[in-house]
Symmetry: C2
Subunit: 563 residues, 2 copies
């Protein structure tokens, strides 16, 4: 049977997008081919808001049969953080049947070469993009993100990160030409002549271990980087967030088959409750690449034990904002309040420790004492999430009971500057929605220092009194070095303090946002321009996305012959 | 004090060379700025053959004082494989003093940026190039290489590999611009605008663990890749091959200081006999990158235990040549004979297992039986190394007593097709020089198969009888997968066999040379064009040189500000 999607067709459709992505990762200017506005969808084959909702509803209670080889059971226990059980079941793999089947298609996939592989990946992304509204609901009801965030971060932003990975993968594979003529002069004798062929070859099977909070955003970079470099990809979703990645796998399999490749190049590994299949898969000799987002404990375990694989991890960290002075006090408070509230602080990039000199800070509206700054920030948060409907649309729901437990324990850590309150979700009364908690700590007290040096994932932040800006900078350094950080923020009008914070970030390898007072937030990064994580501190051993993220997913094999 | 070497001066001198290197790693055509002929040296500031010899002689019996901080002893026990003791002593480090001192200069080195760092590296390489004749003797008298090989492989070829690494490092660091303006449209509202700065930051201290046989060739890629990406580099040479790397460190320190940087960015860690300092350094928290060439046992240990570091290893492998048929029988025999003899088979790239169908092979001169092929190859080797003077110039000396012991035990493994003989070195009668041994094995016998599946490093090769070309290809696959291989060779006039061998090399990730009958040998690779190793089989986890070799030696830190 001839492939329904031919290479020339795919190239005609997607090469311009790849070229623009390649250009943009060089300039790092703003660009995205994936619309951020919900109303941009519904034409040219994409699902409208209503169609997306209906498609999601139609999935509930069904068996998602991916026609995978080695399926020995059907599993699925997802419950929406907003209340309803999803009731979707997924194939459970017999790994010793599935993995060999995944290898079968790798030769043809390798022989397709970097361009065709990139085009197939872009076709997958464009099909996912057309179903953004449907994916948005799957993300919302597995992560607890509010709809708009699930739509944007789980849709266009995740697709951007996937496309970015494809662009890096393509660029890396095509740095070496397919062929070369090599002629070495030999003085008066005939020159030595060789003809050389260079082929990018995959490492093997790549394992994606998905997370609960951002299954697509954190999953797509590794998935597409590995697929674009010729590997097969086994997707092991978080048991609470299977559906967004299972649908992704389905689209991948459909497109691969239509383009004439083996659908088993991408497969799903759903698991039974408590099975811990990731641990088994991670050390399987066929698994040669791992992408993981989740706890530091398991991330460290992977880095220590999965020697047969290239391991990319994003783990826990402690994000700091140094607040030393500002020329836009209201703007700073509003910006921070939003950052603390968005998705109830359940982002790996949400600030946790706000370091503020105990003598207070200088602002354009005069000096503000430590207590005043904290009270004003509390008021800013309170006004942002005071109304239940507005709060619910910003906070989303707590993703799991662990977050709730941590939130409930946190007031014991210090003086509560802003209490967390229960928010009644207007549409989903069962959802556990809580406003952010702010606790005051003092960096000179041992217990307080210990408290703020642990990640307290969720809507909890610490306003930490420090003796001076210098102490803030040193505490920042210590925190990044020992605990890691996905983000660092700082507010200062002093060029000296700015320089000191920058130097710490350069030395300890952390991404820094300075004096954000408008519509960009420290916890958000844009694909093609911002790096997500640095890969150089304990919070993550890789960054999204750079050359290092893709370069070791394939190898180049050279065949040389005399001419 | 103003720096004696200014950035503009360095750029004027070396930027054209860097540009040509950058271009060549893209085309992979032939190029080298480092002359291969001994007579090309002696003008424009480079040492003539006589001056190089005199410079080497002047080093013997001296203390090489590098003025390193934390020097607590003077050590050195090198004896030339050609007989004489070198008598050179080197600083022994107190690691807890030296490592912090090495960090001191890293900020200025980082701030210099990728271009200036590349220029400083090229200045170092050009100073080393000018002393090629001196380095040649240091390599000869630590490795046992014959002079011409020590000169070429230890001189220009090693310098090429260093320059290649600098080019990759520069290219990788400059993929991301220094700054970017990011403007995101917001419909009718003002666009979001950010100004972004991107800085390549080093990982920390890079540890080079040198090898006995190719201290410069195998050492320069890691040394220069790490230095060019902003790291400090601690060089831990093999105790039998300190001098070539100690001199290299001295040149690095001189140039760094002259260019206004801290000399301690590059330092030497020589050790006492049996001290095993590499094991201590490899897991030191300050050591963030490791480059290693040597035994599989220690390489595997590094990969398993040095979790705090990016580990690049080149270990042992078993190299195979499949001999199925040829259209140039004499050319094949001559080419193989040279490959087996060069430096007494003490190259990680030397073929070990020659797989030959027991029914014989087809040639342009008619069919040749298995025994005939082996006898003809033995005769070709014998004629190449029959004369002592000529033999010595090709074989060099055995690098250490282990090689001699293995060679002496190998005749017990099977029927000897060509006995190894003692060669009297005309200039160094104390040198242990031995001609290659060829032993016949049969792949269908369990003991024989086991024998050829171990690396037998040195002048030992196995002519292995196989039932068919298909069996040869399957044994090749098994060998590469289980034991690893730096090189694979094949001789065949059958497009089917050629395709099968290629496919195994693509699937098992090994570098393949086909039908070499002239002046290029399977055990030689050229910088800028050939990859050394694949990084994808058990013989090595990295290739020289590609993006993956440099991409994770630095990270990019972004600082973003509102405009």
């Amino acid at each position: 049977m001839a492939a329904a999607l031919t290479a020339p067709q795919l190239i005609a459709n997607h090469r311009p997008t790849l070229d623009q992505a390649l250009k943009t990762i060089g300039t790092r200017a703003y660009w995205s081919p994936h619309p951020e506005h919900p109303k941009a969808y519904g034409e040219q084959g994409s699902l409208s808001p209503e169609e997306g909702r209906a498609a999601f509803d139609a999935l509930l209670g069904t068996r998602l049969d991916l026609a995978q080889p080695g399926t020995d059971d059907w599993v699925g226990t997802e419950t929406s953080p907003y209340g309803p059980k999803l009731g979707v079941t997924y194939p459970h793999p017999d790994v010793e049947v599935l993995l060999p089947a995944m290898r079968d298609g790798m030769r043809a996939w390798r022989e397709a070469g970097p361009e065709v592989r990139a085009m197939v990946c872009l076709e997958i992304l464009s099909r996912i993009s057309a179903r953004t509204h449907e994916f948005a609901y799957t993300v919302m009801h597995t992560t607890g993100q509010a709809f708009m965030m699930a739509f944007q971060a789980g849709g266009p932003h995740a697709q951007d990160r996937g496309l970015e990975a494809v662009a890096y993968a393509y660029a890396e594979q095509t740095r070496t030409p397919d062929t070369a003529e090599w002629t070495k002069p030999q003085g008066k004798r005939d020159p030595l002549k060789l003809e050389k062929q260079f082929t990018a070859v995959p490492r093997g099977i790549s394992l994606l271990i998905g997370c609960n909070t951002f299954p697509t955003w954190n999953g797509y970079p590794g998935l597409f980087a590995s697929l674009a470099t010729g590997n097969a990809v086994l997707v092991k979703p978080h048991p609470r967030a299977v559906l967004p990645l299972a649908l992704t796998v389905q689209v991948c399999r459909d497109v691969l088959a239509e383009a004439g490749f083996d659908a088993n190049l991408v497969a799903l590994a759903a698991e039974r409750p408590g099975e811990g299949i990731a641990k088994t898969l991670a050390v399987h000799p066929e698994v040669r690449i791992i992408d993981y987002t989740g706890s530091s404990a398991f991330g460290d375990w992977l880095e220590t034990n999965a020697h047969q694989a290239q391991v990319h991890t994003e783990k826990a960290g402690v994000n700091t904002v140094v607040i030393e002075s500002t020329g836009n006090y209201r703007g700073m408070l509003a910006n921070l309040a939003f950052s603390l509230s968005l998705y109830s602080g359940q982002m790996c990039t949400t600030p946790q420790n706000l370091l503020i000199p105990r003598a207070g800070i200088a602002t354009e509206a005069g000096p503000k004492s430590f207590d005043q700054v904290v009270a004003d920030l509390a008021a800013a948060v309170d006004s942002l999430v005071g109304d239940d409907a507005r709060a619910a649309a910003l906070l989303g729901a707590l993703v799991n009971p662990d977050v709730k437990a941590r939130l409930e324990a946190a007031p014991d850590l210090g003086e509560v500057a802003l209490a967390s309150r229960e928010v009644l979700h207007p549409e989903f009364p069962e959802a556990v929605v809580r406003s952010p908690l702010i606790v005051k700590l003092d960096a000179t007290r041992t217990d307080d220092l210990a408290a703020c040096q642990q990640e307290c994932f969720g809507p909890v932040s610490f306003a930490v009194a420090v003796d001076s800006a210098t102490d803030a900078v040193e505490l920042l350094r210590h925190t990044v070095r020992e605990r890691g950080a996905m983000t660092v923020g700082a507010y200062t009008t002093s060029s000296e303090v700015e320089k000191a914070v920058e130097e710490v970030c350069l030395e300890e390898c952390a991404q820094l946002s300075l004096n954000l007072t408008g519509g960009v937030f420290v916890n958000q990064t844009a694909a093609f321009s911002d790096f997500h994580g640095s890969g150089g501190n304990p919070a993550a051993n890789a960054a999204l996305c750079d050359g290092a993220f893709v370069a070791n997913r394939f190898r180049v094999v050279e065949v040389r012959r005399e001419v």
